[in-house]
Amino acid sequence: MATATLGRRGKAAPFRTRERRRANLRALLYLSPWIVGFGVFFAYPLISTVYFSFQRYDMFTLEPVGLLNWKYFLRDDAAWTSIKNTLWLVVVMVPLRVVFGLGVAQLVTKLKAGAGVFRTIFYLPSLVPLVAGTLGFVYLLNPGTGPVQAILGAVGIPSPDWFGDPAWSKWGLTLLALWSVGDLMVIFMAALLDVPKQLYEAAALDGASAWQQFTRITLPVIRPVVMFSAVTGVIQTLQYFTQAMVAARVASGATDSAGSVFTPGYPDGSTLTFPEWLFQEGFRDFAMGYACVLALILFAVSMIFTLILLRQFRGFSEEEA
């Protein structure tokens, strides 16, 4: 905008720098809430987290302990369990969600009758509040009470004790994630509808099958969108917290009342995710220095994926304005 003004006036250099300075100041004014927020809620706490990672702190006494917290991490079995579980979710849940979301989106774009109704139905579960959806799934998949047992039994398949069996609990969470795939579906539908129609017409003339059209035309064209969704999916999964917490809490029947202790991860640590363990250490056991070690590890891993994402954005933001 400032350059547009410049162009019109076409004044000499000193004037131009003053114009530019005014434009910078104006931007600063508009951005000021975010700049303050960035400092207070991001930059300061990040530096502070590094500082606390070398301290023992329980909100009462602060004691420098050097690398003790970091050494403890290497021996902390629960932390490694949570890393394994989080990795499982990244490797299994994220790809399944992307593939399923893409499949559903492809199906809806191909429907002639009732596409709008189907789109609404498929999208609806992704709006259900996480806690409510998780509660529903724990009930539905509960072998004693839920209908899934009854339905599978009728077909002759024995139903596992989903959220009560360490071998199946993460699959239960995966089913929940696939159920709420609607947001991905909408993103993929938008991308699929943007693929130029002529490409398909030309391919059909050449006798390409539907599968060939999908792999040779659709996938290459929508690849950036799929990649973007996969990477954001990984980043979101690194934060996976609510569903695991609620499922474990409800399935274990643990109470919140004072005096009783609930340790996330039921059954047998199989649903313990990394952010859950960070939360537990920092805000339930008040080992805040150690929680900062876990926070920095989470920061480092998330940052790697964020950088992958930013690289995709760089070319993208240079195009306009």
């Binding site: 509660l135 989470l298 920061f299 998330s302």
Partner: protein
């Protein structure tokens, strides 16, 4: 999962078995819609079972029967006696409304500047917005918690509301993505008419950005309505500060194993979201599209 490959596989199979192209198209049509119906049952099934269970008696809810023997409407009255639901609802509404209002006031100017101003560090600012949007909130949770504790605000929901006055990275990002698409000519025309930058934003850009603002506002509102991590961290053990999500997660364990009442409370938490969605479906879908990058 198998359904993802099905449309293409099925599309080829009839090609071998039927001769006329019209018969093939018909089979293809039937196959696609059959899969869609099957998927619909899978997507709607859990919701239907939650609703059915909410009407059952407590004893029946512990069996694997699907249909309520008697429709116990009183379950929905009972849950209000079992738990301070009204308090939780009003806390949730306060959190959601204030956070959304604060977010809009602070984030719109930021998004506008990122989308339309040229200034030094513009690209860096945008990259930092994306970075803060992507990084898990747990990364910086400890020091922020300690700051709120120093102000004696832990044990309330204010630590979740006040920061919204300083903008929300995800909302800034989405609004920016929309504002970038508004052609420059509109704001240029306003300037020729003698509008200042701020009046251009209020009079010209905001009315045009109404769908995006509505979408971002709804997303924020629902994020707060559904939020579990934030209230769990800050609301503390005093139930009078709890939100609906927090109360709901604890509901079942506090009332032995009354699945019917738990499901009734679940419906209470879902209903507003679903009702609003049906009134503002288009806004939602357009908003979700903004989150995918093109």
């Amino acid at each position: 999962m198998t359904a993802t490959l099905a449309p293409e596989t099925i599309a080829r199979r009839p090609a071998a078995s039927t001769r006329s192209p019209r018969g093939r198209a018909l089979l293809y049509w039937i196959a696609k819609h059959a899969i869609a119906v099957a998927l619909s049952i899978m997507f709607l099934g859990p919701l239907v079972f939650i609703i059915l269970t909410a009407f059952m008696s407590n004893r029946q809810a512990l069996t694997s029967q699907l249909w309520p023997q008697t429709w116990n409407w009183s379950n929905f009255a009972d849950i209000f006696e079992k738990a301070p639901l009204l308090t939780w609802i009003s806390n949730t509404v306060m959190y959601s409304v204030l956070a959304t209002a604060f977010m809009l006031v602070s984030s719109i100017p930021v998004a506008y500047a990122l989308a339309k101003f040229r200034f030094r560090g513009r690209k860096l600012a945008f990259l930092l917005v994306i970075t803060t949007m992507m990084l898990p909130p747990q990364v910086v949770a400890v020091p922020i918690y300690l700051v709120w504790a120093r102000f004696h605000l832990t044990g309330t929901l204010w630590p979740l509301i006040i920061p919204m006055l300083l903008g929300d990275a995800f909302s800034i990002f989405l609004l920016r993505q929309f504002l970038v698409t508004i052609p420059r000519e509109y704001s240029d025309a306003a300037r020729v008419d003698g509008c200042g930058e701020f009046r251009t934003l209020i009079r010209v850009i905001l009315p045009m950005a109404r769908p995006a603002i509505a979408a971002v506002g709804l997303f924020q509102f629902f994020f707060c309505w559904n939020d579990y991590y934030g209230p769990l961290l800050y609301a503390g053990t005093d139930q009078s500060h709890w939100t609906l999500s927090l109360g709901l997660a604890a509901f079942k364990s506090q009332h032995s194993t009354q699945w019917n009442l738990t499901m009734a409370a679940t419906i209470l938490a879902m209903a507003p979201v679903i009702v609003v969605f049906f009134f503002a479906q288009k806004v939602f879908i357009e908003g979700v599209k903004l989150t995918g990058v093109k």
